[in-house]
């Protein structure tokens, strides 16, 4: 390794795959923006942009997320870096991809800086995407499905207060399986990471379900003790 100025430098971007859960349509969605600028103007893409100097990768991802979609304060984790020399027609641009988990009702699609429009698409009905964004989305989906079974990140896709049935549907939708409600309840309660609230659902035309919260404190204690969250 020698001094860096002897070497060509790539452009560096971050891209944020934003997942949201739509319980009504029972589908996992991804937030895309319609590009306003070349290259790929008019095409749909994962929101993202160039990293600024003196900015960490995480900070850049969080900034782009906010600038392009208005979303902030959500789960955001690095996914993978994409550096195929041909991935960007403008030249050598490496992208560090992140993925975010939000509950869409709290984050309606919102127009953005350099995009015409932002819109939620079901993950299995996305249009053709700019750059290598189809590949990035595929990697993100795989990560989400994998991580969901051994880490309690599912809660990030739900409102703070949720019913057990909603949590179960979340797993069914993302993993594409059917789960037995009795067994699911047993398992999720046995983990001891839910705090039962004194509230129930409002505005449903049938018996209202009890609401729960994810208990981060209890979860942290559990991992310290070496126990691991494992669903399915």
């Amino acid at each position: 390794m020698t001094f860096s100025y002897e070497y060509e430098r790539p452009g560096l971007t971050v891209d944020c795959v934003i997942f949201g859960l739509d319980l009504e349509s029972a589908s996992l969605k991804v937030l895309l923006i319609e590009r306003d600028l070349e290259p790929f103007a008019g095409m749909w893409a994962i929101p993202g942009g160039f990293v600024r100097i003196e900015e960490s990768l995480y900070a850049a991802a969080a900034r782009e997320l906010k600038e392009e979609t208005g979303i902030e304060g959500v789960f955001l984790e690095q996914l993978y870096s994409f550096g195929d020399p041909k991935r960007d027609p403008r030249g050598w641009v490496v992208s560090v991809a992140y993925y975010a988990l939000v509950s869409p009702e709290q984050h309606p699609a919102q127009a953005a800086t350099d995009a015409r429009e932002a819109r939620w698409f079901p993950v299995n009905q996305v249009p053709r995407l700019a750059f290598d964004h189809a590949e990035i989305l595929a990697v993100a989906l795989e990560r989400l499905r994998g991580k969901l079974t051994y880490a309690p990140i599912g809660f990030e896709l739900l409102p703070q207060k949720f019913t057990i049935k909603q949590l179960q549907r979340l797993y069914e939708i993302v993993l594409g399986t059917k789960l037995d409600n009795r067994n699911f309840r047993k398992k999720i309660f046995a983990m001891g990471v839910l705090r039962e609230l004194d509230e129930i659902q409002k505005g449903v035309p049938h018996r209202a379900a009890r609401l729960y919260k994810f208990d981060q404190k209890k979860y942290r204690q559990l991992i310290k003790q070496g126990l691991n969250f494992q669903l399915q």
Copy 2:
């Protein structure tokens, strides 16, 4: 996202955390190089270097691995990208870290381009490292331990032909646990990813153990069928 030349560009490096298993000393080791150049000259570091234009990230990692240690043709996978603006005293340098798995007897430490020396260190006895390499190593270790339990990457750390006991020791060493040999055998055989060879160990002062090979074909069939490798 606009044209890239409006933005500052970072230096881009790859770093390769190289893990090797030493069955004799029953320890997991990492291959480090002693830096010959500033910054951090004389200090130990993870091998790595700048990515060249027109080169994919994987290709850069594989090239650096070969140039700096002579190792090639081994398991090599992207780990994580590190972009803290202060991580390199020379300025803004982002690093995409990879990790490699090798069997050290097949890869004795070997001097390299811009290093004084290369040496294997037990992972819990590494010297102070240059840059943020201690953090990179920690992330790599965590990944290795995590992945070992659900993916058959352990074989990459052993010679092609190995005994069941060696495989068991591998898991014990990396995961830091003790395993029951009868249960371990049952489980590993039940997976059906080992091919029994007509050979036995040579040169041991006691009963020689049968040798096995990892059967990649069978493994691929199994994942196609949806079965998953799960140990512990």
